[in-house]
């Protein structure tokens, strides 16, 4: 057993377990954060420190924090879980079947894999060059998508200004 594999493995699974099972949504988000740190560890083990750093920065630092804000803003951290058992067992069944089937495929498949890649080739320079050269268009599109997502998010959550006409109508409705 390799410590570079087992440590991230453990962190990931524990974090994910928390994220999936905790009914307090804040706890779940923390579980997610832990799991993501584990994923970053796995990235390191797979020889890609840059993505590992990005993972921690964006996911743990960005997304998880945003979720916490959202939870705070919606002020419903743990809605009452109703009719839980049937639903959970059904979901568990589906997920379990998926897991079993997937494992079956993975175990049976022959990937022809063997030796590791030397980590030298994974230089950040190569990534940077490719990003601005080969995948230039995709990179630019992604930035556009992000921009649009931000603008879109703002537009969606913006409170609509109350029109004067509605105010005129309001008393009549109350009267009715």
């Amino acid at each position: 057993m390799n410590i570079a594999f087992t440590l991230p493995f453990a962190v990931i699974v524990i974090g994910a377990f928390l994220a999936v099972t905790r009914s307090n949504i804040l706890h779940a988000v923390f579980g997610l954060a832990i799991s993501l740190v584990g994923v970053a560890g796995a990235f390191l083990a797979l020889g890609s420190p840059f993505t590992a750093v990005m993972e921690v920065l964006i996911y743990v630092g960005g997304i998880a924090v945003t979720m916490i804000f959202a939870v705070m803003l919606s002020s419903v951290s743990s809605p009452a879980e109703r009719g839980g058992f049937l639903r959970k067992s059904l979901a568990a069944l589906v997920a379990g079947l998926f897991l079993a089937g997937g494992s079956l495929i993975i175990v049976n498949a022959d990937f022809g894999a063997g030796n590791h890649l030397s980590t030298d080739a994974w230089s950040i320079q190569a990534v940077g060059r490719d990003l601005l050269d080969r995948f230039n268009l995709a990179f630019e599109s992604l930035s556009l998508v992000l921009l649009l997502a931000i603008v879109g998010a703002i537009v969606i959550v913006r409170r609509e200004p109350v029109l004067p006409a509605d105010q005129d109508d309001a008393p009549e409705e109350e009267a009715a």
Partner: protein
């Protein structure tokens, strides 16, 4: 470690995410499940690339893109959740059943 080990790890992570998506009531919890599934995919990308001698930078770039898209997706999803909360005073997925036939 072998490729299969990483793939099984990713599969496990994905299944847990799937469970969250299917079982949880809370929209944010469902979103968390989605994020887990995305990360499972990311692990797969890097693992395949690491073990199968593919283009060195490709997997990393794809992972970066996925992370970027996930950020965008999370932003939009959270915005929608907030909007829904304002409308229904709830973020229970069972409350949103307008597509019912």
């Amino acid at each position: 470690m072998t490729l299969e080990a990483y793939l099984l790890l990713a599969l496990l992570l994905f299944s847990m995410g799937l469970y969250a998506v299917l079982a949880r009531h809370n929209l944010i919890a469902i979103l968390i499940g989605v994020e887990l599934m995305l990360n499972a995919a990311n692990i797969n990308f890097l693992a395949f690339n690491y073990f199968l001698h593919l283009d060195p930078a490709m997997a990393q770039i794809i992972v970066l893109f996925v992370i970027g898209l996930a950020a965008a997706e999370a932003a939009i999803a959270l915005a929608i959740i907030l909007k829904l909360y304002r409308k229904h005073q709830s973020i229970d997925v069972d409350a949103m059943r307008e597509l019912r036939g």
